[in-house]
Symmetry: D4
Subunit: 217 residues, 8 copies
């Protein structure tokens, strides 16, 4: 059985998290119940509305569920920590992933802004937001299709940039591998990449990086 | 045997062209000799210096060879036609392909400017050339790696844009399929694409399009 | 949120367009409402009948929906512009994509003919339509499977040819990558290609090209 | 060690054949020597000039080597059998594979014509040869790039058609998988396919089929 | 619209056939109605029970539908022709494809036996059927997973062998590309291959080959 | 630097082994010298003749080099252990990999027979060796192309079978992924697979398995 | 029709097994009925609850169905044999595959422990179970995502290790090919691999290996 | 021509860098000369010894070349900045990439330790270095094959981890895509990834992150 790692957050700064997409209803029930009873703060990602509906109402009531990102938390009120992250998404369709990143950051006690619909085919939109983006400690760039946003941001911003390719699109963009490869091959220096649609992972990377703030390591 | 299509240019506006990379020395000798003797204007692409060196000196002297693009012509002085094409290349390494496009255009009687090293990781370089690019009837965008240049140009320019992905790069960029898919999935509307490293094909597409100039069709 | 680019058409000739396939019902409602209220002409592509059915009836009534292409428009009566496009599709199953191209052209004020079922396994059908095809300023070739239609048209027509590979077929044809690669590797010169099933993009490319008509650029 | 199947031809009609490309010099020497001494007719395919040069002169003299196809035979004078095969190749660069097929057929006692440079971008060339092609019992179609020749022939010819995709080309055509998939997805009915560059295999298939001639099975 | 080729069978021996899987209900209705009214014999492949159910009862009654192969015919009583084909399938799950081949042959006036469940992991089953297989003019080998049946048959049978890889299996076998590549790379000589799950195509190839019977070409 | 694991063999039964193919000359010199001086038995795989030639003669003399498998050993006289392995290879070209497995086994103190050229296109050759194969405790099956040998052996032998796909072949067989996927999708039960060309790994697996002999675990 | 191999278990030690995922309801009914009536012990894998529900109640009652692994048995009480297998799974989501392996082992008369949720991102969990794992004769390692568990176990355990990559995960992990390639490329020596999600196959491999126990071969 | 961005370092903290692998000798000469004359600090990556040898001696003398990493610098003495990076490489063959990262860091004024040969198949080696690794502000993990090192480090270290997959290995590991996908699918949270063999990019990412040190942003 899944045995939660009840003090992971204290030890590594990484949240206890449960990827729900390939778990059965029975498995989820045990996990939610265990985490709630133990008082362990936890984040559930890719928890579909259908999975939530199949859950006994008592269990579901333990969860703070967010539709837009399909995430939930238990015992989620974390103390606020230093650091500001800006999540920038190329299109409306990338919003689920962008908000997953923001929710993960908030669960970890970090402030997160989300800016959507600034794809590079309309550079003026991006330029209008540039001051806000440059004010952040870390930028998370969420983009599907050709993920050109990643390279453009990489040339405009000096902060760490974590690219999250998304599976948005059709034809050669199906599944997100074009966006992924594009981000990995970015002509901008020092951009780093996580798995397709992995807003959660990008936020966790930001948590690791923000440990550098204040130079206390 | 290869039987040249001696009046193709007159009929379709497309140049007689010979792709040399997979031909044997013996095959090339016959083709060069035939085209020269028939007085047929022809363009040779991907003719490596090694292939040229192996050719009998007499035959080689028929050819006007260009190192930078590895192209050659016979009977290449074509009358000048209306239309201006701008070939924009993201990096120095994309130059061979960019110049192949320019040579093909010149062989077809068309004027071509080549602008190199305007990758989007340094947007200010691109912006400095934007007036020159916008002055062209057609833009050919040559880029490897993530080919982000294609989407950015697509949002800045109203003219037809033909993207030529290149095989420049390593890792996921090897062979050019990342640049190709990125150009096909471009978030900019109405960008069209040719095969990887196919500067010749992009120029041929421009020849087709410039037939629209003056509305004489 | 999606912030429509209300004057894109005036500036670049490209229509304001919304790709609906990966948007939620909530996102679509806001976009339709905004575009309608602002009086912005817009095209919706890949809007499934299911998505339309879930829309509040008031909103749906703003849309001029076409079943065959799964497209819709708001404020869609555009002034007529010069230029004639012929959309040629290899098989009956390619019709959705072909009509998407035609609808996009009409929305942009351009005339479009659609010719279906002229695959090259029956060359005589294609030959019967050749005069009509040659009369067009631009040819859009829509084909799945091996997309052999693209190369055959490329040898018969001097006008610009935009190939739209489709995802029609099974086995190695599944998803359309065989048709795509076949079009990119076409033995005909100067054929250009857009993403799989991207009838919209091919029409946008035609809009860019038809700006050359009359030589007014 | 390789133990030749000395009476395969008699039993199955298939020639004893040795694929040389991945064999060491030492292995080839033993095989050539064994087959020669046993008087077994055998065909060697993909025997590079370099491999031939490294062979002891005595052994090499047993071989009837053909440069154009990189094939060799020992004891190769087979009695003539009924049946006529036409090998049709799209381009000059496909010639090595086409001649490999022809050499295999001749080694098996069958007559073979080779027609080269009839790619579909110039349909009139193909039409000029159509009577010759239709006169054959079996057609072997050799083509790289998009292999559109296969579908066009499939619609014009009622005889069995064996497609041999080739690795000719660059970009998406590299290695031949585009030509292969294109042939497999052909819109023409009843076309069959062999491995990339496998002229030998196509000829063997023809040998199997020609066993049907005369209805003596 | 789909315009049936009403005399294809007479001209090329190939049946008029309609691939139904990517056609809409409206398109299918027109096609069935046209073919029935014109008295044209036709074969429908990949016609799902759901598509049949959605058809108006009057139209459906024109069709002779077979569940096991998901094929249907109109005007299907073809005169009997010379030739015997044996369809050999490796496993129970390959049956749909095997029966599709058999139905296509019967529609074309050819006799076909179907032998199922003779995968090579149990060689004795295959050996028990070997005499029946060797009695056929042509063998169609239907197999998924690793398609090892193809190579084993290729070594045991002198007749033409058409391999039909199937999409049966999971993991690396998903979709059938492993079976396809395995058949193409078969160590047996002269085996030919058609697209994944393409029982129809294999039967058409057999029709082409059986034209050689009697030597009347 | 590479720090050899001098007592690995004693602890896990696995030999100390050095994969040479991606190491520089300088790196190899240090490793050979260290292992020789420490008296540690070690196996070197994929050590090309060119790498051996570049090594200082003194160092090279420490190595017992085998051309056929491109392996070498230092301090290689291991005590004999219980267990008999049969390495079966489909073709002559698979020999390098088969002998790499045999050399690894011998280095580990195990007896190994090598049987070559028993591909399934000639079943009678395989049947002639079947008693020898069945006498072994473990069978290592080495095959390229479609690796059909693996499934056939899997149905004939009850012992553990380790499949080693090889990169032998061209076209779809290039690089060995067809053989690999074929082995993984084998219709025979309980066959296990190692990486392409990994004769060494198959032998190591046999070493692990033979620890079960005698039931002393 | 599927003809069960009623005495396979006696002859090869491999269980009679039926892969249900691609079989129709009609095919499954015949197979279940035949095996039950003949008294043949058999295992059904990938039998979905939906398939079970569609089965006539009388037939279904012959089956001992297990939800967690989607397997069923008929006549499943096999005599107990020597040997202990430990099935180790990286995550909760890998449980279906792990239990499929365990059920197959039990059906074959072998004892199997299942340990879940010991992924290497939390090494201490794995270390806590290490004694139990080392006590087994054979270890089956079940893991998706990057399958890093395989390499770590390979360095810690001397027993045979059979890796079962799973299709758990999203993005680059979708379908399991990342886990598969990772297991094949494992830096640990002598690890062997079966197809993605193939818990059944791993158990069959263990059955083959455990035949070595006691040295009675 | 390549126009160096002479003040990039001051503006973004990113070094001026030249990827040499796809540049011609003529292009490199101009670039080296320009950078030297302008006094611009610059880093050259993937500069092969052959490229260096072809350079005029005068130019080459401007370069501080490092064999192990195939990098060079001009005007490379950068002032020391705060921050400590640990580069951890799984195997000896990964050293070129690891040193490329270290050289890039040193060029940027950052201290870097390199630890090699700590692959997870021998966990005790990794554990012996764990204190040194945990002392760093940032960890760069360099690994080929299955890149299992990435996940194991991810579970043991709280600092930011940048994974650099390498192209080391053969078979499924060829080219590095297995290592890349494995790192992207890592079961450890918050690990970020750069392109295959991109030691330079990982170092640039570290430069971005270390801007957070001291909290002065």
């Amino acid at each position: 059985m899944h045995e939660p790692d009840h003090d992971r957050l204290a030890r590594t700064g990484m949240p206890e998290a449960v990827l729900c997409s390939s778990k059965t209803a029975a498995q989820l029930e045990v996990i939610v119940s265990d985490l709630h009873d133990a008082g362990t703060p936890a984040l559930f990602t890719r928890l579909s509305p259908e999975q939530l509906d199949r859950m006994p109402r008592g269990l579901a009531s333990y969860l703070d569920y967010d539709d837009a990102s399909q995430t939930a938390t238990v015992h989620g009120n974390r103390p606020r920590r230093a650091g500001q992250v800006c999540v920038v998404a190329a299109g409306t369709s990338d919003q689920r992933v962008a908000v997953e990143a923001a929710r993960t950051l908030e669960f970890s006690g970090l402030a997160a802004d989300v800016i959507v619909d600034v794809g590079v085919a309309g550079l003026w939109r991006l330029e209008a937001c540039l001051d806000a983006i440059r004010a952040a400690d870390i930028v998370i760039a969420v983009a599907g299709l050709d993920a050109a946003l990643v390279s453009v941001l990489g040339g405009l911003v000096a902060a760490p940039i974590v690219a999250v390719p998304t599976s948005v699109g059709y034809g050669v963009a199906t599944g997100g591998s074009t966006a992924l490869n594009s981000a990995l091959a970015s002509c901008a220096q020092g951009v780093v990449v996580v798995n397709i649609d992995n807003g959660f992972g990008a936020a966790c990377a930001a948590v690791r990086m923000l440990g550098l703030l204040g130079g206390d390591r």
